[in-house]
């Protein structure tokens, strides 16, 4: 039996569906992220779990208890807000002690527990300071300690890092994961930052327009996106819109270019069906067109292209390329950047196994002519 179970949650605001038939099971100690663009319903889902929003229908179960029967202050959820929500008239110490005092814990226990929690979040010395005297990162640490003080059954974090700068965000997300792992607390985390979600989660729930697009481990969601939305929302993806030539043999035509895909990837498709072949930029090898390379192997795709733009991204360099009137992206390590420059003719090589094939639902029919697919 799952520790947390969200069953068919629905929520509508002024006639507009915010969350549609949301279902999720979480194991005890699991770290699950709700990931999606603004307005996709992830915060509303979290707030329904916390009890701040009442679902139109559906159930929220924690163990064998239906939480919808309980008011928010009796659900035992620890929540961390995007804006920290620290009480401005209380010091960091008193903010952390707030929930313990409300629970009527003995003063001796509070005096012992609060420094422990401040130590846990690395702020032992900041207990006497007011929120206004702390940086954003420090305030969020205090907010985390405050949420953990009541020993919640589930920790809820609503975009806790989005108000912080990039460096602090990375440091703090690692801290959150470290503390979560150390305490083994079941955690539901809301973010619109796909890198953040992939970095710290056991599982990711990708949401769009109030519904769930895909649930899976970060690796699975990244490598095997279930929909075009997931493919494009998480990382960069080349989308090659084409038509299945022979599903059994894993052959797709992209414009004039034949593409080899894994037969397993195209097994469920029909010949003549409009599809989108998805290839990650880092799965494509690029060499200058005049360079001698190994002869073409079976199950390998080779495409002639021209470099349009070279973008330095630190350890990675991104090439924007033009191939037969279509645009593609290739990521390479900056160390291999070499002599690639605008206008250089190149050869792109990627294996059939690197291709994921999805039915092109926007094409409207199996025999539709392939459209010029772009990487964006």
């Amino acid at each position: 039996m799952a520790y947390v179970e969200l069953k068919g949650l629905n929520k509508t605001f002024a006639g507009n569906p915010a969350v549609r038939d949301f279902r999720l099971s979480m194991e005890k100690g699991e770290f699950v992220s709700l990931l999606g663009p603004s307005g996709c319903g992830k915060s509303t889902t979290l707030r329904m779990v916390a009890g701040f929003e009442e679902p139109d229908s559906g159930e929220v179960w924690l163990g064998d208890q239906n939480l919808l029967d309980l008011p928010p202050h009796r659900r035992g959820m620890g929540m961390v807000f995007q804006s920290y929500a620290l009480f401005p008239h209380l010091t960091a110490w008193n903010n952390v002690a707030f929930g313990l005092r409300i629970a009527g814990r003995p003063a001796a226990e509070i005096r012992r527990r609060v420094p422990e929690l401040l130590e846990l979040v690395g702020l032992r010395e900041a207990g006497g300071q007011y929120p206004r005297q702390l940086s954003g990162g420090q305030q969020q640490r205090v907010a985390l300690a405050r949420a953990l003080a009541i020993e919640p059954r589930v920790l809820l974090l609503d975009e806790p890092l989005s108000a912080l700068d990039a460096v602090v965000r990375v440091t703090l997300r690692e801290e959150i994961r470290r503390i979560q792992s150390a305490l083994g607390i079941t955690t539901l985390y809301v973010t619109h930052d796909q890198e953040e979600a992939l970095a710290i989660s056991d599982r990711v729930v990708v949401m769009r327009d109030g519904g769930v697009e895909q649930v899976g481990t970060p690796e699975a969601v990244y490598a095997e996106p279930a929909t075009r939305f997931v493919a494009t929302f998480i990382g960069k993806m080349n989308q090659l819109a084409g038509v299945v030539e022979c599903a059994r043999e894993g052959r797709v035509r992209w414009g004039d270019q034949p593409l080899a895909v894994s037969p397993a990837a195209s097994a469920r498709l029909a010949d003549g069906q409009a599809v989108v072949v998805l290839v990650r930029p880092e799965a494509v090898a690029v060499t200058p067109a005049d360079a001698k390379g190994p002869t073409e192997a079976a199950g390998e795709n080779r495409i002639a292209a021209t470099v349009e733009l070279v973008t330095f991204l630190g350890p990675v360099t991104r090439l924007s390329l033009e191939a037969g009137g279509r645009r593609l992206l290739v990521d390479m390590t900056t160390a291999d950047r070499g002599r690639f420059q605008r206008g250089l003719p190149v050869r792109l090589v990627f294996p059939a196994a690197a291709c994921r094939v999805l039915a092109d639902e926007s094409a409207g029919g199996p025999a539709r002519a392939p459209r010029a697919g772009g990487p964006w």
Partner: protein, 284 residues
């Protein structure tokens, strides 16, 4: 070229501000300086004798009455105004919010003789409400009189309460929803949230507003005089009587009383300013 243009602009700015300074000097600074000089002089020399006469039983009584009336009406205004303001800011209908705020704006500025007259024709001995109540068997008089301290208290609350609404609405809007949700999430009930979070955060605004209402009531004269005449012994009524000279003409004592009153008002304003800058004060 640029610096000469800047200089010219600066002079123009001072020129535009000149009427304000002249007005401030003529109607704020000079009267206060005159008041100070007059209250410290007698028979052409400097003296503290005028302040000695401030502490006669009648004058001390007027201060006691004024302080009591101001404190009670300020307290009633703070409590009532905060409750009504909370109802306004949490009202779902924008029309209701706007209408009530506009009403508060109007009534907060409706004072003096017209307000006193309004109360006389409604709650006076032959007032509309008094007669209507009498018709249904409820006799307000003689146990209640609008021409008394209790009547004055009702009249003062009439303008204190809406003023409080206008003062506290911004602070209530500054109470962040996340604070309430965080408190509830940590196990607090609604009452505990108000007791431990909202009221302490609002405290500087509430205390500051109390001081402003106190000063507002302490300085009120026209309503009190029109409604109760000399029946209720207030500082402002005493000052006016001493200046008019109906019973005793003593402008120097009136100035000394006014200067002490000015001190009370100044303390209120300084206290309000100090509280208004408290860092945890809720701001929208």
């Amino acid at each position: 070229m640029v610096s000469s243009l800047r200089r010219r602009l600066r002079w123009t700015a001072w020129l535009v501000l000149a009427p304000f300074f002249v007005f401030g000097l003529a109607f704020e600074i000079l009267p206060v300086l005159t008041l100070v000089r007059s209250s410290f002089t007698a028979d052409g020399g400097w003296t503290l004798a005028n302040f000695g006469r401030v502490f006669t039983p009648v004058m001390v009584d007027s201060f006691r009455n004024s302080l009591q009336l101001s404190a009670i009406t300020a307290l009633l205004g703070v409590v009532g105004g905060t409750i009504v303001a909370y109802a306004i800011v949490t009202a779902r209908s924008r029309f209701v919010r706007d209408a009530l705020t506009a009403l508060a704006d109007v009534t907060a500025n409706f004072g003096g003789a017209p307000l006193a007259f309004a109360f006389i024709i409604t709650l006076g001995s032959t007032g509309v409400v008094t007669l209507l109540l009498k018709a249904v068997g409820v006799s307000l008089y003689p146990s209640f009189r609008i021409y008394s301290v209790s009547g004055l208290t009702i009249a003062y609350v009439y303008f204190q309460l809406p003023l409080m609404i206008l003062l506290i609405v911004p602070a209530l809007l500054g109470l962040r929803q996340e604070w309430r949700e965080a408190a509830i999430n940590l196990g607090a009930t609604r009452a505990q949230y108000w007791q431990r979070v909202a009221l302490p955060i609002l405290a500087p605004s509430l205390l500051g507003s109390f001081l402003l209402l106190f000063a507002n009531a302490f300085g009120a004269y026209a309503t009190a005089w029109t409604l109760t005449g000399p029946d209720v012994n207030l500082v402002t009524v005493q000052i006016a009587a001493l200046v008019r000279g109906e019973v005793q003409l003593d402008p120097a004592l009136a100035d000394a009383l006014a200067l002490v009153s000015l001190g009370v008002m100044a303390a209120c304003v300084v206290g309000y300013r100090w509280l208004a800058t408290r860092p945890w004060r809720a701001t929208p």
